[in-house]
């Protein structure tokens, strides 16, 4: 589904991502963690080309990400993304947010698009909020809308960039529940998160990044109980301590 080969990225002179290699199969659920500034967000944003990489290959669903605008468009259609700060469109209702891309990008008739959007809203358990504006919802609800909006494009892959870290503790659970359900349905998922509980529950693999490199990757039980690298151990201590 996703293949990253020898990928490098620089911001000016700053080497953010160093020689990343990763293969994600269909239906796999990957959790990426690591200290702040380690390049997790940058990595995940490269996968749908919100950032450009400068060396190496990224192949998503058989399409290589190059400068070709058609390829970028195709890949973005196959990849849904959920941001830390939701990034819902505040001037559109929840339903309109969800229908925007189906109608304008996939050219679905509005009726159909709305029907399918309602389905996804039900799946994230907020069908009753469909005609409200994002500003009228709580953070957890907003994030669930953001998930529904991404799902409405019927993507093959979902990317999550710290979807719960801007939420109050009470709301984190709502969103995690939705994500767990989603994982259960066999969606290919890449998720940057610090919610180790979530990682333990659903991840097929946990990837630990530091300093722009993938330091370690392993199935969760191995990762948490028996980390190989010193850096991983230190990180886990910190994160599980507080």
């Amino acid at each position: 589904m996703i293949r990253v080969e020898g990928m490098h990225k620089w911001y000016g002179d700053f080497h953010v991502l160093k020689d990343l290699n990763l293969t994600v199969d269909q239906g796999e659920r990957i959790v990426i963690c690591g200290p702040s500034g380690s390049g997790k967000s940058t990595f995940i944003r490269c996968i749908n080309r919100l950032e450009e990489h400068q060396q190496g290959k990224i192949i998503v669903d058989g399409i290589e990400l190059t400068d070709d605008v058609r390829h970028i468009d195709t890949v973005r259609r196959e990849v849904g993304m959920v941001f830390q700060h939701f990034n819902l469109f505040p001037h559109l209702t929840v339903l309109e947010n969800c229908c925007l891309s189906p109608i304008w990008v996939r050219k679905t008739p509005r009726k159909e698009a709305e029907a399918s959007a309602m389905e996804y809203l039900e799946r994230v358990k907020i069908p009753d909020q469909a005609n409200k504006f994002p500003g009228q919802l709580s953070g957890g609800q907003q994030q669930r809308v953001a998930i529904a909006r991404a799902l409405c494009m019927k993507p093959k892959i979902m990317l999550f960039d710290e979807p719960t870290s801007a939420l109050d503790p009470e709301m984190i659970k709502e969103v995690l529940d939705v994500m767990i359900e989603l994982a259960g349905s066999g969606m290919t998922m890449l998720c940057v998160t610090h919610e180790m509980g979530f990682a333990k529950t659903v991840a097929d693999r946990v990837i630990f990044m530091d300093g722009g490199e993938i330091v370690e990757q392993a199935p969760p039980h191995e990762f948490f109980t028996n980390p190989q690298e010193a850096r991983t151990q230190k990180f886990l201590q910190q994160i599980l301590a507080h």
Partner: protein
């Protein structure tokens, strides 16, 4: 617990106390208060006398003005000219219809709960110019034609400001997008355009538009003087508009752009569906303020010989039949402008406040 029903200790709000706190707290404030009060007392009285008590309101000819106070008679006698310019008497209903439509579209904007006021506003912005395009000059639908050289007074002032602002909006949007473009040449062109237009005084622009434009155009291509003044005003205004809109674009968080990208919307859809609707809404107060300053600046068309409201007044205050009516004339114009500008600016302040709170929720 027992005292949860206790009332706040009454702070005596007697006038004396209020004055001590707000007017005479400390020697500095006391001096200030007394100084300002003295100025007020000495100036308000004579002004009131001139404006109302000694003023002449009724009569039918200049001799009715005694000269001690203002001669408002002059205004009421010439009001028709000040409002319609040379527009033929029997056709003035057409202008009146436009005034009425203008009021119908925009007065409800001040009333919070007015049903459908959004639609009226949209009609005011997009529909009104179309209606006006057919109604004011006439020449179609069996309406008698009225040359633009006959337009004048308040009506001309409003036409100039209104068309100036509406026409500069789309150009301003394009310029603002251009200025934020990633393509250096496009950005450069827009920056140069905006900065040049913003740097030159409006009267030089009007001068160019009114007498020099035909020199730049191929022979035979010609517009009316009014149209040319409008082109000048619009281009000049669009540079300012671009800057206002750019402010809005900058205020949209990057996440909105990224979310639109992630949804696979292309550049124009991203801008048209996601960014611009938010940015424009955000800068409505800015646009209204630009409108106010344009509205005031339209008086400069006087210098190129168009008879706007100030022009009509100036051309009549030297009428030998009336003695010394210049001040009355200028006060009248000032009052007209003040009412419009103050009203609109209040509206924009309200809006600003509302948008402000709207963002927090």
């Amino acid at each position: 617990m027992t005292e949860s029903t206790m009332k706040a200790p009454k702070k005596a709000l007697r006038p004396v106390k209020w004055m001590r706190e707000n007017l005479f707290s400390g020697w500095f404030n006391t001096v200030l208060t007394l100084g300002v009060a003295y100025l007020l007392v000495t100036s308000v009285g004579p002004l009131l006398n001139w404006f109302f008590l000694d003023a002449n309101f009724v009569g039918s000819d200049p001799s009715a003005c005694t000269g001690a106070g203002a001669c408002w008679l002059f205004i009421s006698q010439r009001l028709n000219f000040f409002i319609y310019g040379f527009y033929p008497d029997e056709l003035q209903w057409r202008v009146d219809v436009m005034f009425l439509l203008l009021a119908v579209s925009f007065v409800p904007q001040f009333i919070e709960r007015f049903p459908g006021r959004k639609w009226l506003g949209l009609f005011g912005i997009f529909g009104l110019p179309i209606v006006g395009y057919f109604l004011i000059p006439g020449g179609s639908f069996g309406l008698e034609e009225v040359q633009s050289s006959k337009w004048g007074g308040l009506m001309l002032t409003l036409i100039l400001a209104y068309i100036g602002i509406i026409a500069s909006l789309p150009i301003g949007i394009l310029l603002a997008l251009g200025r934020r473009s990633e393509m250096p040449i496009i950005r450069g062109i827009c920056v140069v355009f905006i900065e040049v237009w913003r740097a030159v005084p409006l009267i030089t622009v009007l001068f160019m538009a009114s007498v020099m434009l035909p020199l730049f155009l191929p022979e035979g291509v010609n517009f009316e003087k009014l149209a040319r003044a409008l082109i000048g005003i619009t281009l000049w205004q669009s540079a300012y508009m671009a800057e206002v809109i750019r402010g809005g674009l900058q205020a949209i968080p990057r996440g909105q752009y990224e979310a639109a990208d992630a949804l696979g919307l292309g550049y124009w859809r991203k801008m048209g569906l996601v960014i611009l609707p938010q940015a424009l809404k955000m800068v409505i107060p800015g646009i209204v303020n630009t409108f106010i300053s344009l509205f005031k600046d339209t008086t400069l068309v006087l210098i190129i010989g168009l008879f706007d409201i100030l022009g009509t007044v100036q051309s009549t205050v030297t009428d030998p039949a009336w003695q010394n009516v210049a001040i009355e004339g200028y006060v009248f114009v000032a009052f007209c402008f003040w009412v419009f500008c103050f009203g609109i600016s209040r509206y924009s302040q309200n809006l600003e406040r509302k948008l402000d709170t709207g963002h927090k929720t």
